[in-house]
């Protein structure tokens, strides 16, 4: 038996023994996620047990080094672990912006001391992080940000405002892009800094979207402070001072790749044609709404070809081929397609799905989902920004 097969057997045995029954329902919906953090209320004893057992094993972040609270597993082992978890329908024990975003940034740009200080609490789900990037007047032009961070000797003084800070109202700490050199030009003079939100100078306000409630917040910094060192040798700034742009760029690419890789969920559930056949009905074997049928057929062609492209890009990456900037292409096409898909689902739904409230539509679930997709091509870099990236980096077209 190969090492990997041995690992598979052991992992499976451990999971079978340690994953509580209630955590084996494969539930992946947003409402079942365990986010962790100081204020986290476990939904069940099982959820708590499951998090603790996995954290102890280092498997909430299996690829991170053991010394930082991870499992120290190889890529292949991580894949095997995920496969086994899927087979047993184990829920994810913990999700968070700490795991998705800050962790990778610290692992790449942090000092050993920073990693030792911040990563283990993330891995154990003790501290919940949020991300402070966008500002009300920056939008796609992230480099124009203005949130001010002044050197006050032993601490930093922060003033400004962030927007689209997901779950800021439920988070403990925030990683923020701030301007540490007001005289520097746009891309320089920005730093990536870590701030405890449990202070008077930091406040948050939820944002209501056109689709209704959202995890997004505005976050205000009014004379907020953060010590220069959170502990001896643990600087509040990640990476070099005034070079936070490098960290931000790294994370943006990372985010884009996550979004484009998530495209696999695009055609999740039943196909559009199937839904339509069921909801609207057939005539002579064809959907009784012929123009809608044409629209669906064309969209299904593009959707299928897009899924194959995701597959091909993954396979190319594995084979060491492929173009890095293609993540922009996947982000662009995937989000635009998702918007188109929801427009069609709304067309299929007709007046039945136009009820915003009430049981029949689960308070307008589809309609809210439809409206929510409109942000897909804005968040994580607008479609226009992705097209710019393709034009410049892949096609190497000249600048304007």
């Amino acid at each position: 038996m190969s090492d990997l097969e041995t690992f598979r057997a052991e992992a499976r045995a451990w999971l079978e023994e340690n994953c509580p029954r209630e955590m084996r329902d494969g539930a992946g919906g947003e409402e079942n996620i365990c986010w962790g953090g100081k204020r986290w209320q476990f939904q069940s004893e099982a959820q708590k047990t499951w998090l603790n057992r996995m954290a102890e094993k280092g498997w909430t972040v299996p690829a991170w080094p053991k010394e930082y609270g991870g499992g120290g597993l190889s890529k292949e082992e991580v894949k095997v672990l995920k496969e086994e978890m899927r087979k047993l329908k184990c829920r994810s024990p913990l999700e968070s912006f700490g795991i998705w975003m800050l962790g990778p940034a610290l692992l790449k740009y942090g000092t050993h001391e920073q990693k030792l200080h911040f990563l283990p609490p993330i891995a154990r789900g003790e501290i919940r992080w949020c991300q402070g990037y966008s500002e009300p007047n920056a939008g796609s032009d992230l480099a124009s940000l203005q949130c001010k961070c002044e050197d006050k000797g032993d601490h930093w003084l922060i003033n400004g405002q962030k927007i689209w800070t997901s779950y800021a109202d439920e988070s403990d700490w925030i990683f923020v892009l701030v301007r540490t050199d007001p005289k520097a030009t746009k891309h320089t003079g920005i730093s990536f800094i870590l701030v405890d939100m449990d202070q008077k100078g930091v406040s948050t306000k939820p944002i209501k979207l056109i689709s209704g409630k959202s995890p997004f917040c505005e976050t205000f910094f009014d004379d907020a402070t953060t010590p220069k060192e959170h502990a001896p040798g643990v600087s509040a700034i990640v990476g070099e001072m005034n070079k936070g742009w490098d960290v931000a760029k790294y994370l943006l690419t990372h985010e884009r790749e996550m979004i484009s890789a998530g495209g696999g969920g695009l055609l999740g559930g039943r196909g559009m044609g199937e839904v339509a056949a069921n909801d609207i009905g057939l005539e002579n074997g064809k959907l009784s709404d012929p123009l809608l049928r044409a629209k669906i057929a064309q969209a299904e062609i593009d959707g299928w070809a897009f899924l194959l492209t995701l597959e091909r890009m993954k396979d190319e990456a594995k084979a060491g081929q492929g173009v890095g900037a293609n993540s922009s292409m996947l982000k662009y096409y995937g989000t635009e397609f998702n918007k188109r898909r929801f427009e069609i689902l709304m067309d299929i739904g007709g007046s039945d799905e136009l009820e915003w409230e009430g049981q029949r539509t689960k308070d307008g679930k589809l309609a809210r989902g439809w409206l929510r997709t409109k942000a897909n091509s804005i968040e994580g870099g607008t479609s226009e920004v992705q097209l710019n990236v393709i034009a410049k980096r892949i096609l190497e077209l000249p600048g304007a």
């Binding site: 009300p136 609207i280 067309d347 007046s351 799905e353 136009l354 309609a367």
Partner: protein, 379 residues
Amino acid sequence: MPLVLTEEQEMLRESAHGFLEQKAPVSALRKLRDTNDPDGFDRGLWKEMAEMGWAGILIDEEHGGADFGFVGAGVLAEEMGRTLTASPFLSTSILAATALKKLGSDPQKQATLPKIAAGEALYALAVDETRKHGPAKTAMKAEKHGNGFKLSGDKTFVADGHVADKIIVAARSAGAPGEQDGLTLFLIDAKSKGIEIERTQMVDSRNAARIKFDGVEATGDDVLGEVDGGYMALEGVLNAGRAGLAAEMSGSAQQAFGMTVNYLKERKQFGTEIGSFQALQHRAAHLYSEIELAKSAVLKALQDLDAHYGMAGPICSLAKAKAGEVAKLASQEAVQMHGGIGMTDEYDIGFYMKRIRVAQEMFGDAAFHADRLAQMRGY
């Protein structure tokens, strides 16, 4: 007839524009939504509109109306589309007024039109029974019962059905669902025994209703038009509604586009107004062109309804299809070009996207009307 507004129509437009901007801006709709207003519109405002002659815009002077014709009604609908004004204008003043005027007997007219013109009675038109529009699909039964009928079945997506005093309803007195023959229109009191009305709050913060008819009794006097021959009569009324909705969507599209162009001029990114980016310029210029096309189709449909009502089916389908598609594009481009702020409920642009989605679905979406046009043209 030249494809421009007459001076009189232009004056109507201007006065409506000023009135609605002041009295019924988007913030008024927002307030109705946030206070969960039981009517979903402002009865006081409706009274004011009636006093200006809007409620009876299609009704002849003999019955107390302003008799401005469909172009006049469309001008008002377009302006209401600009400000997303919530009112029973479509259901009462376009749909019901057209139905009663074109199909009513003299006593029926006498009993209804003056009240509509005075803003004293609200109406609703109940046609659809399934998620997608299609009058021929009507399954609701109108069974012979003594000298009259008994109506049984379920209607959905009945705009303003929750406040209507009377309901005009299409039911099947003969034939089978899918057939055009065998439909009859009835004018029913909303308080009749056997009627159950459920208010449905829609995506656009407007209100519609699902209405159950359980053996509702109707006499011969309640029949509007001919028994069994209601299909073409209904189509005429629906065409008027389609043109009205198209005019409304054209107004919404123009307004959303105007907001977007302004935003493009103001909003700076990468050190310059985003409106200077050529990719956005070209998309805006294309959308401008599409909106001009929609405006042309809408005006022609309204003029044709006035000039030869019975032949206006194709042009009304054109207007509904084109205005629906263009308005959708306008709302999509508006949100995308506004970026994050366009996604917030605080900003008005989302209200346009929502209303347009509902209006384009009502009485047939672009796919329905494109198919209908193709059928009418024999392919």
